[in-house]
């Protein structure tokens, strides 16, 4: 190879390298946010990030088509992120950390708004004078951080107690009666495999299952002090279902909401703690038409219990299209659109007014869902919720794995301090 050719090669190599670096730098900086804002009436395209796949995704697309027809100047580009919540959150966080102005508007789990608000990634909705009174107050609370609303309720998923109306003639009125009814049902119906099914795998669902029974014992999941008699009693009740009354098999420790639903829909259990979607699933003939859905019955000093799940809609703090993004949110959370979504894919509306007779005619169980929404307790609203959740999952998992009768009180006593420091607004490791 001659020197000239070598020099030519070097030029080529260096040029290729420079182009690659420039492209990389451009890619890194393209996320830079724009601060100028575009009026809602101007022609524009907004990006909407959501996790919906299958029929949920199709329903969103239909609603977006109708929105675009009503607002011809606004085009909505849908960005479908992962249905896995951890991956979904990571993708959003990467966009926010890089300062990207897109997605302009996005779907958010009820546990995320506080984290996004603390980091300054979401737009406070105060400028839009939202009428929060039209939504269920429990989900509004989940979208509110330090007194400011950051996310609008889209749909509500209140977790509660399912029971078989053919086996349990009158709904139980106390936790103790749930146990005695389950024992009685197991004696009379030999096709039952257990008395109750709930989510006790080491994952987020274990926390919502706990929250569903928590208020029935007078408990409250406040991370600044989780070691309360109510919380201990609630966790002990779940623990004793496995080890004392044995109405729940040890296998519950590997069950998530899907397995719990399968047990109930197959007719293996008279009781199950789960989300409303159970009602929409195909059930065994013995179960069909015999499904009751109630808040978990209160014990002495408690109130009926339910846990809040669901999805919210929020706006990127860096967007230039805040007005158009809010218009889209308003449209998606309007009563008729929410009712249509509930009928089509079973997502429970976040507006009491969307529970219409048309909806009940299609799916009568929404009457129960609406009633449960009044009891639904949100998970702790803290920017460090994921860390608190991880602590609680470990705590619950250790209790469900222990045969010791004092496991629940010992675990709360041992874990309370670290949960408090993990939830603190000022870091323990700065």
């Amino acid at each position: 190879m001659s020197i000239n050719r070598a020099v030519r090669w070097r030029t080529v190599t260096v040029s290729v390298g420079a182009v690659a670096l420039a492209a990389g730098a451009a890619a890194c900086s393209s996320g830079g946010g724009s601060s100028s804002s575009v009026a809602a009436s101007a022609p524009q395209t907004i990006v909407f990030a959501e996790s919906g796949l299958g029929t949920e995704g199709q329903q969103t697309q239909l609603a977006i088509n109708a929105f675009e027809k009503a607002n011809p100047n606004i085009k909505v580009s849908i960005q479908v992120l992962s249905p896995n919540s951890t991956t979904y959150l990571s993708s959003l966080e990467h966009d926010f950390i890089s300062g990207s102005s897109t997605p302009d508007v996005f779907e958010s789990d009820v546990t995320y708004p506080a984290k996004f608000a603390q980091a300054g990634w979401v737009l406070p909705l105060t400028q839009f004078s939202v009428n929060t009174g039209q939504f269920f107050s429990t989900e509004v609370a989940a979208g509110t951080y330090n007194g400011t609303l950051y996310a609008m309720p889209w749909f509500d998923n209140p977790e509660g107690l399912f029971y078989r109306t053919d086996l349990i003639k009158t709904p139980p009125t106390s936790p103790a009666q749930v146990v005695s009814d389950a024992e009685a049902a197991m004696k009379t119906d030999k096709s039952l495999k257990e008395g109750i099914a709930f989510e006790a795998d080491k994952y987020e669902g274990a926390i919502t299952a706990f929250l569903t029974v928590d208020s029935a014992f007078g408990g409250k999941l406040d991370p600044s002090n989780v070691n309360t008699p109510g919380n201990v009693a609630a966790l002990k009740w779940l623990h004793d279902d496995i080890y004392v009354s044995k109405i729940a098999p040890q296998a519950v420790t590997s069950w998530q909401e899907g397995q719990v639903q399968a047990q109930f829909s197959s007719g293996y259990t008279p009781f199950a703690i789960d989300y409303p979607f159970v009602e929409a699933q195909t059930s065994a003939p013995a179960v069909q038409g015999h499904i009751g859905y109630i808040p978990f019955p209160a014990g002495p000093g408690g109130t009926p219990g339910s846990a809040l799940g669901g999805e919210m809609l929020a706006i990127n703090a860096k967007t230039a299209h805040a007005a158009a993004a809010y218009k889209l949110i308003q449209y998606l959370t309007s009563p008729s659109v929410e009712t249509a979504r509930a009928i089509a894919v079973g997502d429970p509306p976040s507006l009491p007014s969307a529970y219409t007779s048309a909806l009940y005619a299609k799916a009568p169980y929404f009457q129960n869902v609406k009633a449960l929404n009044n009891y639904a307790a949100p998970r702790p609203v803290t920017p460090n919720y994921l860390q608190v959740s991880s602590d609680l999952q470990t705590l619950f998992s250790s209790v469900f794995a222990s045969g010791s009768p004092g496991a629940a009180s010992a675990a709360f006593a041992a874990g309370a301090a670290s949960i408090k420091s993990d939830a603190a607004a000022t870091p323990g490791n700065s």
Binding site: A251, Q393, T394, S398
Partner: protein, 339 residues
């Protein structure tokens, strides 16, 4: 099958009495032309420099790419480990905190237990995998009908992504739907509903260990089989003539000559076991409690769930150092004796 099945079958080491292949293929290097001042001639010098430059240029894109995707994150991670950087407190300044992230980690009983668990898991799986893998390799090295088919099929678990095999095993250990309890139930009714993954620590580790070994033993076996195949037959014949028993020829001939393959298998497996994550994440999520959390799991939890890049950075640095130390020890221990 890419493995060479004929090496050594001629009864003498390949190429005995001939110069090595590298020597045969490399043209003899002429001494550089020198002028009377003893310096190399200018043209030859320029040519060598040109070639060297071309070499550098050819590797430059790869080096730049590697620096961008390996060196940069590594250095950034080291920077993180000495600073406060937590997304949950995104608006706080990233102050320099010295060794604080490291002391927090070493003082944390959760990290220390994870370290102990990881080390025990590593030792147990390696010993087991290498013994069973060696047994399989010895078996596959013998001629028998269907040997080719067996060698191919034994690689199937290794070809499967760990996430897939972990989900597979999680399903198999499921108390209501899995086949493990179904088969155990045939022996004793009380074993038909054993919850494996989230009730009992030992049982959870057993399940993880089985899933991990199922996937990794074939890898060890194939590596060792390759090592066995390059051992020339005449060494065994000589040992036999000297009256060596099977055990003697195994310990005095096979094992010493298998050392290079064994060292590769050990290094790979040890690093994989030290960094074990996916099997645990899928099967137990660290439970029951946190009794199956490994170092990598804890590191993931700190990075991704708690978004604490400072502490997470410190954890991953220690993990990298641990892996480097282990590799270094292996390389030293298996270094061929210099004559």
């Amino acid at each position: 099958m890419a493995l060479n099945e004929t090496t050594g079958a001629e009864g003498r080491p390949a190429g005995a009495g001939r110069p090595s292949l590298v020597k045969r293929l490399t043209p003899p290097r002429k001494p550089p032309h020198r002028n009377r001042h003893g310096r190399p001639k200018a043209i030859g010098h320029a040519r060598e420099t040109g070639d060297r430059r071309l070499g550098y240029m050819l590797v430059a894109p790869v080096v730049i790419l590697l620096l961008a995707i390996t060196a940069y994150p590594l250095i950034y991670n080291i920077w993180n480990a000495f600073h406060f950087d937590n997304l949950s407190y995104g608006n706080l300044p990233h102050n320099f905190v010295g060794w604080k992230n490291f002391t927090t980690m070493f003082d944390s009983p959760q990290w220390v237990s994870a370290l102990e668990r990881t080390l025990v898991f590593t030792v147990v799986t390696i010993v087991f995998d290498v013994i069973v893998g060696l047994g399989l390799a010895l078996m596959m090295n013998r001629p028998f009908r269907g040997r080719g088919f067996l060698r191919a099929s034994i690689l199937v678990p290794w070809a499967m992504p760990t996430v897939v095999s972990a989900v597979l095993w999680k399903t198999m250990f499921d108390p209501s739907a899995g086949f493990v309890d179904y088969i155990l139930g045939a022996f004793h009714p009380a074993w038909s509903g054993l919850a494996w993954l989230n009730i009992n620590t030992l049982r959870a580790w057993t399940a993880i260990f089985i899933a991990d070994s199922w996937k990794n033993i074939p890898f060890v076996a194939i590596l060792l089989l390759a090592g066995l195949q390059v051992i020339p037959n005449d060494v065994y014949e000589a040992a036999r003539m000297d009256g060596a028993s099977w055990w003697q020829s195994f310990t005095r001939v096979t094992l010493p000559l298998l050392k290079p393959a064994l060292s590769v298998a050990l290094i790979f497996r040890t690093l994989q076991a030290l960094l074990v994550f996916d099997v645990i994440y899928i099967m137990t999520n660290g439970g029951p409690g946190n009794s199956t959390e490994s170092l990598s799991y804890l590191s993931y939890n700190t990075f991704i769930i708690n978004t604490d890049f400072g502490l997470g950075g410190a954890m991953s640095i220690i993990l990298v150092l641990l892996a480097l130390a282990v590799s270094f020890i292996y390389v030293r221990a298996f270094r061929p004796a210099t004559s």
